[in-house]
């Protein structure tokens, strides 16, 4: 019991990272809500963009990393890769939900509608539904190895939808604005005022740090859970061996 309590104690560096992240989040909110000038077209509503776009970018990153760890699990079969894939997939679901809700909050005052079934929004809803499916599948499969393999395949399917989502505003007719910020081979080509760009980048960095902290903490807990399950199953395995 004391062993579990001790290993449950969060390492100091992770606590420190959490505090730094919290401070930077407060600074990011200050920059977005106080320091950012109103936009010529959107006025103060531009302040929603910093929250919405950073959540969307981090969601994409989380989907990519969940699929990479899913692929690693398929390749190496190590349970830690599955634990990591789940940690990234949970954050992907969280940030996908935030992207959708934040997008609706941004869309109502700027485009006069909460939702429309155009390509960009439908693909984001599909992304969210696939991520929910990832966890439904995990809940349905009892065997841990099979669960890891099946959910890894689902994470790859989620990843396959990503390029369409990323490019939807360019490829299809949609209410969603085209990217206001484009990273091309020639460098960063921004179509917005520099101050909007820097405040956005700062908030993307903060959302990335929040995501990193969530994943590290979730992975730590996932490893401990896996250890407990292994320890619980080990004597049963021995009992079965004796029975045979």
């Amino acid at each position: 019991m004391n062993d579990v309590r001790q290993s449950l104690r969060r390492p100091g560096w992770l606590n420190a990272l959490g505090l730094v992240t919290l401070a930077l989040f407060a600074l990011g909110a200050y920059l977005a809500l106080v320091r950012s000038p109103p936009d010529v077209n959107q006025g103060d509503l531009i302040r929603i963009m910093y929250a919405h776009v950073s959540a969307a970018w981090v969601c994409f990153l989380a989907v990519i990393l969940a699929a990479i760890f899913g692929m690693l699990y398929l390749w190496r079969g190590r349970s830690i890769d599955d634990v990591r894939a789940v940690a990234h997939a949970e954050s992907a679901l969280l940030f996908a939900g935030l992207t959708i809700i934040g997008g609706m909050t941004y869309s109502r005052p700027t485009l006069n509608t909460f939702w429309t079934w155009d390509a960009k929004l439908t693909l984001t809803a599909l992304l969210f539904a696939l991520l929910v499916g990832y966890f439904v599948v995990r809940g349905l499969v009892d065997d841990s190895e099979r669960r890891g393999r099946v959910s890894a395949v689902v994470s790859i399917i989620v990843l396959a939808s990503l390029p369409f989502n990323w490019m939807a505003a360019e490829w299809f007719r949609t209410l969603h604005p085209a990217k206001s910020f484009d990273v091309s081979a020639a460098g960063v080509t921004d179509m917005a005022e520099p101050i909007f760009r820097w405040i956005l980048l700062f908030n993307v960095l903060v959302a990335g740090l929040v995501y990193t902290w969530f994943v590290l903490e979730r992975t730590r807990l996932g490893r401990l859970e896996a250890n407990i399950v292994e320890r619980r199953e080990a004597p049963r395995g021995r009992r079965e061996a004796v029975d045979v």
């Binding site: 019991m1 579990v4 909110a29 103060d44 929603i48 919405h52 935030l98 005052p109 903490e217 407990i228």
Partner: protein, 40 residues
């Protein structure tokens, strides 16, 4: 219902959503840790 919401009401809602989502996930992680402690 939302027609008379000013821009700052929307801005506050969007940032509040962020806080609620982060706070909610932290609570979820805490509940997992608590369950581990109880089971261990």
């Amino acid at each position: 219902m939302f027609d008379n919401w000013g821009p700052w009401a929307w801005v506050a809602t969007a940032w509040l959503e962020l806080l609620l989502a982060y706070g909610g996930y932290l609570l979820y992680l805490r509940s997992r840790a608590k369950r581990l402690e109880d089971e261990g």
